[in-house]
Symmetry: D2
Subunit: 136 residues, 4 copies
């Protein structure tokens, strides 16, 4: 199994701004889509984990470095990887790549804390930990 | 007490698109801000109603007519009124006006069904009905 | 050629709100994605039309009727059709359907005025009119 | 003149997600609002700078650290400061504070490159440099 997950996306009109390029905050939305697809590739849906275990991956930190602008209707790939896994925090890394992977539009990461519904930190649920980390 | 509520807003960069004007879906976000301020002017917060009575105003219909474009950083007023009140549905009307009210950028309405947390229709909670309708 | 265009989408976390369902304004973003894909199915990209002819489809009216809530990670189809074509205005219709088309989450329409970059109404560019209307 | 700019905001319903808290990407939208107000406090509008000098502050880097969740309808202050000014790059810092400044919801920064309309780096326009940096 590959260590990352590639998912194709296309820039929506709604995601552009008057500079004629994709607005910077939307990159974090694409990161979120990448995370969900990464989980799916590992055999579970984040939705299911939230529902079954009342565990939430609350964002503690978010970072993005913008290399080249993305324009309306452009196709790109969000490549998501698991950078670090600890009992109570998880770090995902992302790259936004041109089709074919020949160019990098942006890269970044997000750090998440596992919490229950009321926001209290908890341990990552075992069943999903195994899936997420490929049984490591 | 006036029959409508005026609330000032300003177009954010995030809300523009590559046409150089505010993206059309954002008008419905401004309508939502107008609704919340309308409730506040009537003496309660929508948040409090949701929390206290587990009643939600789920949108059943939304309409907007766009008269003139709104541009980045432009100031405008969202004027919200209560168009119709029935036991289980509420209709709000909106106008987006230039400062001073001399021009109309857009107008529209939203129809809401009152539901419980699981989405089942219910009657508008009495305490909040009185406030919303000014005791009528 | 079918008279409408079906395009699959999935609800993003960003598109939900604290009611646990997709926020109502986002439906209009999905309509926009549907419009773009409708154009693509007819043999051109809206992006290309904007760039080549300096023609813009400014939204004049938008309407949505919400039948059933859409939840996070749910897959659905946006079905877009050309409801009416006039020299200077175009109306698209939309349905959001469950996979397989067995349920309707929402339906709506948008009316667009063709304008130049400065917002002045103009006639729909001939080449793209033919493509959009299948040569009718 | 104070070295930072405080601007009050309130969490919109549209900005929440199904976790019941503000969605993480929206913090960057609030940072953008803070930037615009920072410029206004220094005597110019960012809009005017874009229009007059064809200079754009393209985002090169964005970072946010989330300390405590923000909930629907909560009031907070976005505090914006100028962290670093160089000929071709500008760094803004942000804090999201509770009313009264007693709690910190989040903090972050954005790095911007000054470009012309086509995305080529250029020098920060002199007139606006003076205003932004208080004549330093």
């Amino acid at each position: 199994m590959t260590s990352h997950c590639d998912f194709p996306l296309r820039v929506r009109y709604a995601e552009t701004d008057q500079m004629g390029i994709a607005y910077y905050a939307n990159y974090f939305v694409w990161f979120e889509v990448g995370r969900a697809e990464f989980c799916r590739q590992r055999g579970f849906s984040y939705k299911q984990m939230e529902g079954e275990t009342e565990s939430f991956l609350v964002v503690a930190e978010a970072y993005c470095r913008y290399h080249a602008p993305l324009r309306y209707d452009s196709e790109f790939v969000v490549r998501t990887g698991l950078k670090q896994f600890r009992k109570r925090t998880v770090t995902f890394s992302y790259k936004l790549l041109g089709p074919g992977g020949q160019s990098t539009y942006a890269e970044g990461h997000t750090v998440h804390v596992v919490t229950d519904r009321s926001g209290r930190p908890k341990t990552f649920p075992e069943k999903y930990r195994k899936l997420l980390t490929n049984g490591q």
